[in-house]
Amino acid sequence: MKEDYVNIAKRLPRIDGIVKATGEAKFAGDLSIHGMLHGKILRNPYPHARILNINTDKAKRLSGVRAVVTGKDTIGFKAGGISTVGDEPYLALDKVRFIGDAVAAVAAIDEETAEEALDLIEVQYEELPAVVDPVAAMNEDAPLIHDHAPRNISFKTDLSYGDVDRAFKECDYMREDRFVTAPIRHGFIEPHAALASWDHSGRLSFWGSKQSPYFTYRNMAKALNVPLSRIRVVQPYIGGGFGGKNEMFDVDFCAALLSQKTGRPVKIVVSQEEVFYAYRQRHPTIIDLKTGLRKDGTLMAIDAHIIADGGAYLSIGALSLYLMCAFFCIPYRLPNMRAKGYRVYTNTQPSCAMRGHGVPQSRFAAEVQLDIAAREMGLDPIDIRLKNALKPGETTPNGFKITSCGLEESITQSKRTIARWIEERPKGGDRKKKSGIGIGCYGYVSGPRMAGHNTAGAVIKVHEDGGISLFTGSTDVGQGSDTVLSQIAAEVLGVHLEDIRYGMVDSDITPLDPGTFGSRVTFITGNAARIAAEDVRNQLAEVAADALETNPKDIVFKDRKVYAARSPDRSMSFSKLVKIAQYSGAGKTIIGRGYWAPEGLEVPNFETGRGNMSAAYSFGTQVAEVEVDTETGSIEVKRMAMLHDCGQPINEMLMEGQLEGSAIGGVGHTLTEEIIRKEGQTMNASFLEYRMPTTLDSCKMEIYHTETRDDVGPFGAKESGEGIQVAVVPAIVNAIYDAIGVAFKRIPVTPDLVLSALKGKGQGEV
């Protein structure tokens, strides 16, 4: 049933489109304050070493240098992602644990002087034995990276539901495989950047490229040892995040500390090379997976053992590991599941959240193994998915409550898509090139419940021309949430999208917010925006009811007009109503407030895990068609289809953009992207050598959304665009399997892998 919306379910251009198209939108690196200094960070060149001494005298004496700081100038605060135990200082204290750890920072009159000063800092290191392989790191005699973590295990999880051992005994078919995924990077084009300005009243103002600014707000206060009230975090436009800009980093801290030391604003923009080797990555994994089925294709049990390379620090890795394991329970009915996961410290770049957060790795394993099983059992890979697909009203064994769910419809639709594609295939053609089609399915959260603050807030101020200012604590890192939240407020208030002025995060003004992660903004902040708008509407309805001599409940707000439901012809304009409210009698200040978080969710214990962590789950099926050149081993993704359930899309055009970007990102993950390291040293720290998809890798994409509507999401909406990346990798790998009969268990699937697989073909897999 389609409602008669003005702003919802419309293909509206994003509200920040024009300023981004003209280059007027300012990102952190574009900002400057009069008198500002420029900062640079000195990074450690060893995988593992003890710092014996740092001499900054020469650097400090260089003309133009205003301050040099090291770990000794800090209180020694250690960040720990969402864990209470920190392990990561913003400036190294006693040890360095990966090539890229920050050991000192300089503020100077310009970048060149700061750079020159870095060369004058003398650091004495004592090299320590390093371990860069996660399996080796778990040996009893491996070098210890953190004293508190025996066998370098930074986190472990042990989930068990049903009776896996008994279920395997009842299975007609079982198989075990090892899957391996490479480390990849987030790939945002805007490097990390921060501008900090400390003043002698003890206030710190901070502008940075932070997708979850309130993490920085809290950690900045802790790391500088100042009250939270002394910290103001302001959000400029953000040049992409994908999970890699959630946390506060050394760049943010060093800008602030240097500003404190110098009494001058300090800006640090890190180089893209630093982003490559010194910041975050997606967890590389080794996944041993065993799946058991009945001969009719009924999924009986999964037993998984995961080793995730966490790199040098914990970051948000506890959640990453939990999601990796827990999401075996979705999107198929799985009565028995066991997953043991180890997140291991190594002397490499730290791993963190990245689009799909942990789930792309485990779903790749599960979906590819399912295709191998289907083929060996003589079953159709689509039918096997349809048979096991979760349905509305089911509860997974770990307690995920499935409410709205369009998975079945998306799988059924994929059959039609595939049939059409096969029909459209050109006849004949190059026999050296083999075509194949594969699918993968996913389920994803709409804002995971985590310990601590989980509520989103929204504030709406009404202007006398009928304009609306909407403030929330959520950021738009490109996904379009500023626009979507504005559409929601506009719809409730019966005004148009262009009437909304969206205020980006300023921690002095905007409501506290957990951040932009786990696909929570549209779903959770969207509800807060809806409630704030309803609050405004209720306040104005009182005034309108007086003016129109009717009951406030009868007042309708539509198309910038306000009227009583029974007499739409006797209307007044929305702006006139605002003026009446503000000017009449004592006058009213119309400010709306809304806050929202899903009720009844359980905070999962990441070690043992049970409980419903999201108020809605999105679902979908990804279809991919590939062409494999059997002579060169190269693989071309010819086209993809995203058949998904995101509830009611608020803005179809932005939603499509999310899906398309996510899918092409997945192509990179599957075929070309891999951070290559030699003894902890990143060997391809540039866009040239780390191959992200370009226009030449883009392909035709089709989008279909199921007829679903979520009862809890704002206007029926759920997650969109993050979950799909989970299914892209297996869809492509399964398409390659279909094309050449080889099921790859390692990504990226490079031409080399393809060629050597084709040579040694026979076993049907690699």
């Binding site: 489109g17 024009i18 280059g23 690196g29 945002f188 084009i189 040049g239 992409g240 398309e660 994409m701």
Partner: protein
């Protein structure tokens, strides 16, 4: 030793005092204050700093400012004419070709140079023309479509 040079950017002549090793990107952003041109990698790999020099799309991080004397430089700020967006800017906004917006100025300048040389590019030609400009958000589909739309709008003008 700093040198005084003249730079013609968006039809305005600027007298700037520069170090000979400064890139055009640095001078545009930090000396002239035209920050619409973005610094993504500063080594010619991402395309975010693309500007047009004498009709050619160039990476301003790979060109020294001192080499740009006597040339016409067009940046993203120079595209708006008489308060009206360039058809490409308009199409990028209208057809959803923008997400985070960081690659957008470079992407639009590369597209502008392409359309000037080839007013009706095929999809393949657009892909080739923009293959040096990275975007992580969009998957390029809507960017390619926006360039196609702009090319038809322009021919109708």
């Amino acid at each position: 030793m700093k040198k005084q040079i003249k730079l013609k950017v968006n039809d305005v002549e600027y007298d700037v005092l520069i170090e000979p090793h400064w890139t055009l990107l640095h001078v545009l952003r930090d000396e002239i204050g035209l920050i619409g041109t973005k610094k993504g990698c500063d080594r010619g790999e991402c395309g975010a700093c693309t500007v047009i020099m004498n009709g050619e799309a160039i990476l301003s991080c790979l060109v020294l400012a001192i080499q740009c004397q006597g040339k016409h430089i067009l940046t993203i700020e120079g595209l708006v004419q008489d308060g009206k967006l360039d058809p490409l800017q308009d199409a990028f906004v209208k057809y959803g070709a923008i997400q985070c917006g960081f690659c957008t100025p470079g992407m639009i300048m590369a597209s502008r140079a392409l359309l000037q040389k080839n007013p009706h590019p095929s999809e393949e030609e657009i892909k080739r023309g923009l293959s040096g400009n990275l975007c992580r958000c969009t998957g390029y589909t809507k960017i390619i479509a926006a360039v196609q739309k702009a090319s038809t709008t322009e021919s109708q003008r």
